[in-house]
């Protein structure tokens, strides 16, 4: 089994973990699961670094470990602990199988889209590229299928993970500055969203997106 195959298999694991992030009802457990997913992402970056021999990818994986495996779940867990009323497990809008089939359809569509592109650098990594592209849609699925606004933050994070992997696949030699841009961008947006969720919860006493129809400034 060569390195490219390992990257593809890890990509498959990425889909499974994102599905679990979407499907787990309790936001706290979903945060732990997100940490697990970020760990898979780190493994993908490190394996890619090993396969392509690019030292930048190793540093990427180290920064991703700190920002995504530790800091992002920590921020969300911190926000969840700060809430006075404990969030109840809001039922998602879709049934479990609908979500799974949606994700399945998205991945297949992305695979078809990617198969048309001829890129010499990622010939063996096409499945991984399709998966990273599909993560944009998986994140969207998370946002539209969940009523809990904390879970919707994870939808954004999933999208962001997808863009991270596709950047690593398409431009492994990209300078550190780009990577720093991506990492901090995600970090700050999560901080802002967690802050917003806290304020919403404090003033409206709910995390249900369906009830947030008349937000006042």
């Amino acid at each position: 089994m060569d390195g490219f195959m390992i990257v593809n298999i890890l990509g498959g694991l990425l889909i499974l973990t994102s599905l679990l992030v979407i499907l787990i009802k309790n936001p706290k457990n979903a945060a732990y699961m997100y940490g697990g997913q970020a760990l898979v992402l780190v493994a993908i970056l490190a394996t890619l670094g090993f396969v392509t021999g690019s030292s930048e990818l190793y540093t990427w994986s180290v920064t991703a470990f700190f920002t995504k495996v530790i800091i992002v779940p920590a921020i969300i867990l911190f926000a969840l602990n700060k809430m006075q009323a404990k969030p109840d497990d809001l039922a998602p809008r879709f049934a479990l199988v609908t979500t799974v089939l949606l994700v399945v359809g998205e991945v297949i569509l992305c695979y078809l889209a990617v198969s048309g592109i001829e890129l010499p650098t990622v010939a063996e990594l096409k499945p991984a590229l399709a998966i990273s592209l599909a993560h944009f849609f998986i994140g969207l699925t998370c946002i539209i299928s969940q009523r809990n606004i904390v879970k919707q933050i994870f939808g954004y994070c999933l999208m962001e993970n997808g863009s991270h992997v596709s950047l690593a696949l398409l431009a492994p030699e990209a300078p550190k500055l780009v990577e720093i841009g991506i990492a901090t961008d995600a970090l700050f947006s999560v901080v802002i969203m967690a802050f917003l969720v806290l304020r919403i919860q404090r003033s409206l006493k709910t995390l249900d997106a369906n009830e947030l129809t008349k937000l006042k400034g």
Partner: protein, 309 residues
């Protein structure tokens, strides 16, 4: 010739060992509940007692009611003759086709439900309809999981599928593993164990049709239901966990295959019994949701097959 003898031996051993499997499950259940419980051989005693009793059928019942018990046992023996047990390949390749096996499992289920309606008893009739509904929900899920495996291995023969999986020759390891998980879930639903049924007390979800059977007919049905559990588990072992079974017809290889097969089956039944004892019976209406989950896992396996991983 040896293969035909092997196939017949498999079928006879299946009949002989079936009550042992259910008896040990009952014994373990009692231990979990810290009861003394029945001895492991209790189901043999029950069945021998049933054979001494009178065989009663309701006034309105037709030949279907009489035909079902021997047909059920016969079909289960036929299926088991084609499943690789100690060997990696199917003893009778003609019977080793996975689509044939699934359809052969539908045949006794149809007669099972028909015989329930045939008795004229309303309670058994409801049981029969539920049995059919479960069949409609579980079997497509099972076939979907196998469909991905068929695509990944390029064959519908159980033995050849097992050979591909056992030698790690399948090109899509993740897809096959996930299909195995989906198939295992579907198999558990077919076993008729606790979240879906409690076979020791009155039967509610599956096996409702048994309520109008008595004497030797009931004994036949009971043996056949226990046989079905072994057949389903053996199918799972043959396709997805074939490691260690004999690839050639020599005595040491086959002895090793037999030992490993028994070990795998014991472990699987042990896990099933643990699971059976920690869950409550599922509400009948929720059964469909859980089969949909299996369909979801199988669909994911299909995606991984398309992606080529």
């Amino acid at each position: 010739m040896i293969l035909i003898i092997l196939a017949c031996l498999q079928a006879i051993l299946l009949v002989a060992a079936a009550p042992l499997v259910s008896g040990s499950a009952r014994w373990m259940r009692a231990k979990f509940q810290t009861r003394k419980g029945p001895p492991i051989l209790q189901d043999y005693y029950d069945i021998s007692k049933l054979f001494k009793r009178q065989d009663l059928h309701t006034k309105d019942s037709s030949f279907v009611h009489r035909l079902m018990p021997p047909l059920f046992i016969g079909v289960m023996m036929l299926i088991f003759m084609g499943i690789p047990v100690v060997t990696r390949f199917s003893p009778i390749p003609l019977l080793g086709d996975v689509i044939l096996i699934i359809y052969l499992m539908v045949l006794p289920r149809l007669f099972f439900a028909l015989s329930a309606i045939d008795t004229g008893s309303s309670y058994a009739g409801v049981g029969g309809i539920r049995e059919l509904l479960i069949g409609v929900l579980v079997e497509p899920a099972m076939l979907l999981a196998l469909f991905v495996t068929i695509l990944a291995t390029g064959t519908t023969n159980v033995g050849e599928m097992g050979m591909m999986v056992g030698s790690f020759a399948a090109v899509n390891p993740v897809a096959v593993a996930l299909a195995g998980v989906a198939f295992a879930c579907a198999c558990y639903m077919e076993l008729g164990k606790l979240p879906y049924d409690l076979a020791e007390a009155e039967q509610e979800l599956q096996e409702g049709p048994l309520s109008e059977y008595s004497g030797p007919s009931l004994a036949y049905c009971k043996i056949a239901l226990y046989m079905k559990q072994i057949v389903v588990v053996s199918l799972l072992v043959a396709i997805f966990i074939p490691f260690g079974s004999a690839t050639e017809l020599t005595v040491p290889a086959m002895a090793l295959g037999l030992v490993l097969y028994l070990a795998k089956v014991v472990v699987i039944f042990f896990i099933c019994t643990i699971f059976e004892n920690v869950v409550a019976r599922v509400r009948f209406k929720l059964f469909g949701h859980q089969t949909w989950t299996v369909v979801g896992i199988a669909a994911l396996a299909l995606v991984f097959f398309v992606l080529g991983i």
